[in-house]
Symmetry: C2
């Protein structure tokens, strides 16, 4: 039985960091006899340049067939002036919706070796380990109607629709409750139920689900307060569940609490546990092509892929241990460099992980 | 010429903190011969309890006639299970929309005396002084249609509408550009123009306005990145302008960077410079009635009121100087208490400001 991994390097630093993760995957493939085969395809700006569309049919076909997908990053100033439907981001959003990757898992973990990178005081963030569960295929990202219309007055009005059905809320709720069961058994659902009707429904369904998970302690928090509490006392959280837009904002805020967003992987899963894995950071066009990007978030995304979609926990743990080891050795790419560290390139970092395996 | 100030104590700690601000206003009224007269009215939960509605007609009438409004805070668990239209928050939202208080100014300033209260490292936040300009009467807070509907499938769907017209964007943009002109001449407009059409229009109008303010440097940032940058390097910002929902989230996050949200005032203005002034913090029901709440954000809101709506800069400065003096004296309410400080009650803090005037 051969299982297929699709590599989507994308734009900016994407190709550089995916190349390192690919080497790591090849090595564990051999070491652990995983029987993985690999393919590549174009997405985002790279696909626009070649095929005039951010998500070519061929890429989508390969993605549907793949057991798991590893993505670098998409987007960059080169494509920023294109109309919305033709932008690199549409490639990413199209993959999410076509594969129904509704469950986005974004851990915010502080690596003890990198504690000093955080802009927060050590006592506030040491040991930080939050999991944000973000709904990824609904909400205002995909709501219809949307667009810009001309009003009778002659002026234009932009509009988008924020919407969730009960079943959409329920399925992401279940993922979050189950994740909380595996962890600290605390789930905080974030909404704006004092203002937005759609999140009143959200809160109701979460309350409803609670009865099925009596061992999980459920709380609710308004999104403005959550943004505040993440800064004030982030360790109060275990698992956070929220919609697409709030999740976009809060997961980036939470990631930055660690000070080392170059270290954070993410997973986007559908109900068959098929998944797309990518670093939390973006395509960083400003440093693309210089060989200085941090490949560790992508390498750790590959580990998450082995764990969640390919059921290869041992190989996942091996990669995570190797990453921890290179950090212990003091190796640092520029983004996580600090006094006493040894500054290395993207490729050196990848090689070091290979050697540590 | 007598000018009228409406006091709306509201719920939770509201009455306690507004009482202290009222004394301060009376004192500067005498000292500077401002000719202010004062009235009070009910809003929020306090109004629900008395009149069964969060914004009684009488309150709205008084508010329309007032030259300026000082609000404590609204809301609390007591009213949390009421249907949305009857909740305390609707009182606040009703005042904002009826008076067209579209421009919400939320400074996030770190008081040097309280630098250690921040959860961020001193070097990251020392000297922090950001102004967030939040649109307050449009966006998804007020967009129609909204509600919960039953789909053909039989399940329910919640929905809200995020919308802005050109003129709504333009008028808040002008407020922000003008504020930036008075300050560091840097304006960052926050949107999600890579996903949401309404914010594509937002960005276009901001770009358009730029030509009228050639001395202001305009930049654009996606909201997820802004949430991240506020944690990473908040001092990169001078003025931030954004819509109602993003502004709600980012202004609370920014406020919490200072660690002393009990110190931060806010102003909500309409195009006649009529305004409602309130502390950034909420009604804190958990400590209500104990006499330990920090009245300084409300007292500083009164100073903002004198400055923006009543054109009494001298009296505003006098209040701000008095607040700074009591901080220098080491007086601290519980929320900002730290080693070496002298812990005082709400009333003591108010008295100390009076004495410093
Ligand atoms: C690139 C963009 C469309 C995307 C999003 O908003 O979801 C990104 O910010 C993310 O969080 O993966
Ligand atoms: C109480 C609530 C409706 C309000 C808002 O969301 O605007 C509050 O959070 C604020 O920021 O003033």
């Amino acid at each position: 039985m051969s299982r297929n991994v699709l590599l989507l390097p994308g734009d900016g630093i994407g190709p550089e960091i995916v190349a390192e993760a690919e080497k790591v995957l090849h090595k564990v493939n051999d070491q652990f006899g995983l029987g993985l085969s690999f393919e590549s395809a174009l997405v985002g700006g790279a696909a626009i340049d070649e095929t005039d569309t951010p998500l070519p049919e061929e890429t989508l076909e390969k993605a549907r067939k793949a057991d798991a997908i590893l993505l670098g990053a998409v987007g960059g100033p080169k494509w920023d002036s294109l109309p919305m439907a033709k932008r690199p981001e549409k490639g990413l959003l199209g993959l999410r919706s076509n594969l129904e990757l509704f469950a986005n898992l974004r851990p915010a973990i502080l690596y003890p070796q990198l504690a000093s990178a955080s802009s927060l005081k050590p006592e506030v963030v040491s040991g930080l380990d939050i999991l944000i569960v973000r709904e990824l295929t609904g909400g205002i990202y995909f709501g219809q109607p949307r667009g810009v219309r001309e009003l009778e007055s002659g002026e234009r009005q932009g509009y988008n629709t924020y919407q969730y059905t009960e079943s959409e809320i329920r399925r992401i709720g279940r993922v979050a409750f189950e994740a909380a069961q595996q962890r600290g058994k605390k789930l905080c659902s974030v909404d704006k139920a004092n203002v937005l009707e759609v999140t009143v429904l959200w809160r109701e369904i979460m309350e409803d689900l609670k009865r099925e998970y009596p061992d999980v302690e459920l709380s609710h928090m308004y999104v403005d307060n959550a943004a505040m509490q993440l800064v004030r006392a982030p360790k109060q959280f275990d698992v956070i569940v929220t919609g697409n837009m709030f999740g976009d904002i809060l997961s980036d805020e939470a990631a930055m609490l660690t000070g080392s967003i170059g270290m954070l992987p993410s997973a986007s899963l559908n109900s068959d546990k098929q998944g797309m894995y990518e670093p939390c950071h973006g395509s960083a066009p400003d440093i693309a092509g210089q060989g200085i990007a941090n490949p560790l978030a992508t390498i750790l995304s590959a580990a998450m892929m082995l764990r969640y979609s390919l059921n290869e926990e041992k190989a996942a743990l091996a990669i995570e241990a190797a990453v921890s080891k290179v950090l212990d050795q003091g190796l640092r790419t520029a983004d996580i460099m600090s006094e006493g560290g040894q500054k290395v390139s993207t490729r050196d970092m990848g090689e070091a992980v290979l050697n540590a395996l």
